[in-house]
Amino acid sequence: MSVRLIRRKIVNAVMLALTGLCTLITASTLLVILGYLVFNGASSIDWNFFTRLPLSPGETGGGMANAIVGSFQILFLAAALGIPLGVAAGIYLAEFSPNSVFSFFVRYTADLLNGVPSIVVGIVAWSVVVVPMKRFSALSGGLALAMMLIPITVRTTEQFLKDVPVSMREGALALGASRWRAVATVVVPAASAGILTGVILGVARIAGETAPLLFTALNNQFWAKGWREPIASLPVMIYTHAISPYEDWHRQAWAAGLVLLALVLFANIAARFILSRGTHAQRG
């Protein structure tokens, strides 16, 4: 064996070992976080957590029922605003004007928006909704999260539509369908599993966002009486409880973390399931 060859073999082995090590570190970090959360959270979770309101500091035994419901309310609002807008824009970009200057601009903006720190999104929502309304509200929180959901939805929708083969569009057009009809009845359904997956993952991503809610939805120790009231959410609850000096609140923060994680995990599994079923049907 030549020296060259030996050197190549050694380099190969070293690189392989290095990347393997990095993978191991990554995986174990993840496992540590998960383990810690499960360990601390599971011991803190009880029936009260899901059914009762938070108690005042010092008292033990409260729950976060309002924050769980509140999180769903805010997410519902964000989804109701963000998904239709994002999907429609994605359809426009992919199907109706893929190469115009306008589309280029929209795509670029969406990518920029995707990278904007969530706290900045929070400030914007605060200044355009909270300040004029002179109140913190569920509405402003939903809006802030919608702002984060839209660019994700736009881009995933566009991507999955682009993956639909041209022959599918041609097939529909050749049968006398208008462009809009072809998109609505063939192209979008063909991409629906992908789009749905993207949307679920997007919602799962914003579900854990705290910063945009801190000065929009704020927080609430009680049930919110309407969309115009401040509302509790799991991420903000975790934040306020974790930085408090009370032992029992720390316990609750862990429990809330675990619940949030479970929700996100569930959404991810659902998304994967939908996507794999969708592609199975296509492969036939």
């Binding site: 190469n99 083969p165 022959s167 599918m168 569009r169 041609e170 097939g171 529909a172 057009l173 050749a174 049968l175 006398g176 369908a177 208008s178 009809r181 009845t185 063939v186 359904p189 063909a190 049907a281 296509q282 492969r283 036939g284």
Partner: protein
């Protein structure tokens, strides 16, 4: 190849078998259904068709043959204006359907009248039933569940697929074999009762039995529609078509009655191609 052997081949064709001698060169008794004149087609800067003119006679089958990449698909894709969807593509020249310029016909109307079966099967990711019903619904050709079901069954029967799928109409079209998918696409095209049917190598994915079924289908369809079929199969072109056009490098080299093309082609390139001597 030098000039000498070329001229020898040409002179080897006996004078009495020239086109006029065999088929009399008479015009067809049928009216011209579709008339393409001076078609130049460009994919961006690349010119794929050069001055192609063909008359398609009503209720006749016209076969287009020629080596891969010579522009057969490109040509027929102009006849239903589906090439317009390709970015940067440009078509010059005139195409008349029943004497009317196809650019003046609403494009959805045109495509209902001029159906197309693509080179590669392209069923929608829907059920078999919904695939066939698609054009019927889009064009509002049948009202009510019963009427649509009848159309679907009828079209599947015409495409020789009914017996194989009637027990799984609501299964995904992707569960069918390639050949079955192609027949499904034919059924889908037939369901809207097109006046002209463009078939781009409809049998390339089919076994001989299914091919035979499709060819039978073409014969039975003849009195209902005008057909243009692209094929690489010489025997098929000779069997099914009334007219044949031979393309080479984006040009229509020769067009005539099928018998003439296959027995006594006027051009040497045509003869080389149909006798398999082509490169």
């Amino acid at each position: 190849m030098s000039a000498a052997p070329e001229s020898r081949v040409r002179s080897a064709i006996p004078a009495q078998t020239l086109p006029q001698a065999v088929d009399g060169g008479q015009a067809d008794s049928r009216p011209i259904k579709l008339k393409a004149t001076g078609i130049d087609f460009f994919y961006g800067a690349f010119q794929a068709l050069h001055d192609v003119s063909i008359d398609f006679f009503e209720n006749r089958i016209t076969a287009l043959i020629g080596p891969s990449g010579c522009g057969k698909s490109t040509f027929i894709r102009n006849l239903n204006r589906i090439n317009e969807t390709i970015r940067g593509a440009r078509c010059e020249g005139e195409i008349l359907l029943d004497g009317e310029n196809i650019r003046d016909i609403d494009v959805t109307q045109l495509r209902r009248r001029v159906g197309m079966v693509f080179q590669r099967p392209n069923p929608f990711p829907k059920s078999i039933f919904d695939n066939v019903a698609y054009g019927v619904k889009v064009n509002g050709l049948a009202r009510g569940k019963r009427a649509i079901e009848e159309k679907v069954e009828n079209s599947l029967r015409r495409a020789a697929l009914w017996d194989e799928v009637n027990d799984k109409l609501h299964k995904s079209a992707y569960a069918l074999s390639g050949g079955q998918q192609q027949r499904l696409c034919i059924a889908r095209a037939l369901a809207v009762d097109p006046h002209v049917l463009l078939l781009d190598e409809p049998c390339s994915a089919l076994d001989p039995i299914a091919t035979g079924k499709i060819e039978d289908l073409l014969f039975t369809l003849k009195d209902q529609c005008t057909m243009v079929i692209v094929t690489h199969n010489m025997q098929q072109a000779a069997r099914v078509s009334d007219y044949t056009g031979f393309f080479l490098l984006g040009k229509l080299i020769e067009f005539n009655k099928t018998g003439v093309i296959f027995r006594t082609p006027a051009q040497k390139e045509t003869e080389d191609y149909i006798t398999g001597r082509f490169g």
